[in-house]
Every structure is written in structure tokens, then in C-alpha cells.
Symmetry: C2
Subunit: 209 residues, 2 copies
């Protein structure tokens, strides 16, 4: 029955608020209010609001780097790929505040910019490694130019899908539906797969609708 440290509670609550109403709209007062602690107490644990953002980014970065460590020479199955996409979207969704106002956030905490770009690059590389693996296994046929275009498209979609989705489908359904992005990612790859694999992915992707 150990009680959670205030410092961690601040981080958790901040993350929730950032995701809900957007980081720029969350004041330090709102955070401390929500936690029912004083603003002064918050500043005892973090010397600035930026520090909170940076620590949250650090967690995000660590999780992503961990996830993106895809083995170069392994034979990756369609199932493994689906699982990988699933985890990635799950992680992005948990830190979606970063993506919702990307330019704004990165401009105010400028040391994050380089680190974010590094992540982007690693993402694209990971997709390339996966596609190469598919190609080696005879499951995919694609030329170099299209491969590059596809992997950039996958990176873009992995970043922005959830923002786009919540924005464009707010009326239709109310569940946040994190899986729809995975569906979309699979459909990007679909045309380049061999016929048998196409059917398999079509079936898999249904689960995410």
C-alpha cells in the first residue's frame, strides 16, 4: 500500500491534461488544482513547466526507441508487423499531445526538436527494414523509389493519424478508436504485397475497424 510519489502524480496528471485539452492550454495552476496541491508545491518538484514537458518527452522517447529497435536481418511475419504497428499507435496515442500541436510545442522547447527528428528518422528506417524483410521473403514486390515514398507515407500516417481521426470523425462515433490507424497503415502496404499476403492482411486489418 505504498503511496504514489507527488512527483509522479504531477507527471501523470499533466500528461492526461495535456492530451485532453492541449499542452498550451494547460497552466501550472490547472495541474496543481487538479491534483489538489498548491502551485508552490508543484514548483518544488519541477523548476518549470517546460521541465514537465521534457520529462514526459523523455519517457515517450525511451518507449519509442525501445520499440523501434527492429532487428535488421530477421524474417518478420505479417503478424509481427501487425503487433508492431499496434504497439506504435498505442504509444503515440498515449503521448498524443506532442503531435496535436507539434510545431508549437517543438518551437517552445527547442532542444526537443532535434530529438523528435531523430525519432522520425528511426521510424522511417524501421519501416524500411520491415519492407526489406518482406521483400526478401518474397511477400512483397516494390521498387526503390516506391519503397521510399511508402515508408515516408507510413511515418507521416503514424504521426498524424490519431489527430486527424479525432478531428474528422468527432460526430460519427464517440469512442477514440486507436486501432483505425493500424487499419490505415496496413492498407498502405497492401498494394505491394503478393496476392496471398494481400488476403491475409485484408483479414487482419478488419480487426482494427
Amino acid at each position: 500500500m505504498k503511496k504514489i510519489k507527488t512527483r509522479d502524480r504531477i507527471l501523470d496528471t499533466s500528461l492526461t491534461l495535456f492530451n485532453c485539452v492541449g499542452e498550451p492550454n494547460v497552466t501550472t495552476l490547472l495541474i496543481s488544482d487538479e491534483l489538489e496541491i498548491s502551485p508552490g508545491n508543484l514548483y518544488y518538484h519541477f523548476k518549470s513547466k517546460g521541465d514537465i514537458v521534457e520529462e514526459l518527452f523523455g519517457r515517450f522517447e525511451a518507449e519509442m526507441l525501445d520499440l523501434l529497435a527492429v532487428p535488421e536481418d530477421a524474417d518478420i511475419s505479417l503478424d509481427q508487423n501487425g503487433f508492431f504497428l499496434h504497439l506504435m499507435f498505442e504509444t503515440v496515442a498515449r503521448y498524443r499531445f506532442l503531435y496535436q500541436d507539434l510545431v508549437n510545442v517543438l518551437s517552445r522547447y527547442d532542444q526537443l526538436q532535434a530529438r523528435f527528428k531523430r525519432l522520425l528518422k528511426k521510424k522511417t528506417t524501421a519501416f524500411q527494414v520491415i519492407c526489406e524483410s518482406f521483400r526478401r521473403q518474397g511477400m512483397m514486390e516494390i521498387n526503390g523509389e516506391e519503397l521510399e515514398s511508402l515508408c515516408e507515407q507510413l511515418t507521416l500516417t503514424s504521426c498524424y493519424w490519431s489527430s486527424f481521426d479525432t478531428l474528422s470523425h468527432l460526430e460519427d462515433r464517440e469512442s477514440v478508436d486507436p486501432g483505425r490507424g493500424v487499419y490505415q497503415m496496413m492498407h498502405l502496404v497492401l498494394p505491394y504485397l503478393a496476392p496471398g499476403e494481400q488476403d491475409e492482411v485484408r483479414l487482419m486489418s478488419r480487426d482494427y475497424l
Copy 2:
């Protein structure tokens, strides 16, 4: 030799600044400073900063609606489609500040949200109309489920490509390269085109690299 009205100069300068450093980072003082007029003068022409944003949005909306009025039953050629994409990316680039901090901007000027969503829907519909036209002309083969997925993907890409591009390729090249988005859009459609049309689009898309 008619001199430009201050009101319009305010709008133009605001747009430039918004695009450069992001709308949230642009204060009314910065705008008036840049124009070498007093803050009071600015507030003589616009009753609030929000009014400037809304008027700029109005211009954007009008241009987009004009562009998106695609005739339902026309036979659209690949060239026409390329031209359409070109114009769309050009327009989006001119008002890119809206997209760079979308959630933030829409949350602070909430009457814009509904109008923005309407635009999104119209965009997707326009892409559907174009694809249907291609299909009718025997230039494209695609089933209903994939058509929907593709058109959403096109809409997403048309919104976020330029932000993504400036973000991820800042080191490599310094030109802002608005055409790369068109290239990417064409490559999304490519796999669903008939072989002859594929070659044509491949050639066309090169111009945008």
C-alpha cells in the same frame, strides 16, 4: 499607384508571421511592430486578434471551396488531376499556419472547428469523385473498402504533408519544396491505376521531386 489599405496590410503581414513562427507565437504587438504602425491602430481595424485569424480563415475557406467544386460526372484526366493537386497544395501552403498547430488554433477559435471539418469532408468527397471518374474511364481498379481508405489517406496527406516535410527534412535541403506533397499524393494513387496510366503518373510525378 494606389496605396494598399492598412487593413489589408495587417492581414498580409499577419499571415506571413503566422506561417513563419506559428500563430500562437505572434502577438498583436509583433504584427504592428512589423508594419511600423501602433498597436492602437491595429485595434482600430480589428477588434481582436481572433478577428484577424477568422478573416484569414475565411479567405482560405473561400479558396478551398472554390477549388473543391469538382464536377460530379466529368471525365477527369490525369493531367487535370495533377493540376488540381498542385493548386490544392499551393493553397494549403499559403495558409499552413492553420495546420501547424491545428488542435490549438481550433480550440481557441471554436467556431472555426465546424467549418474546418466541413472542408475536410468536402476534400474527401472530391477525391472520391475523382477516383470514381478514373474508374468509369477504365483507368483505375479499386474496391469500395480500399477506395474509402485511399481517399481518407489522400485527405490526411493533403493536410499534414507540408508540416511533416518541413519538420523532417530541415537539414537536407533548404528550399521548402511545396511540390513534394503532390509527388506523394500521386504515389498513393499509383498502385490502383491501370498499367499504362501507372507509367504516365510515374513520369508526371518526377516533375515534383
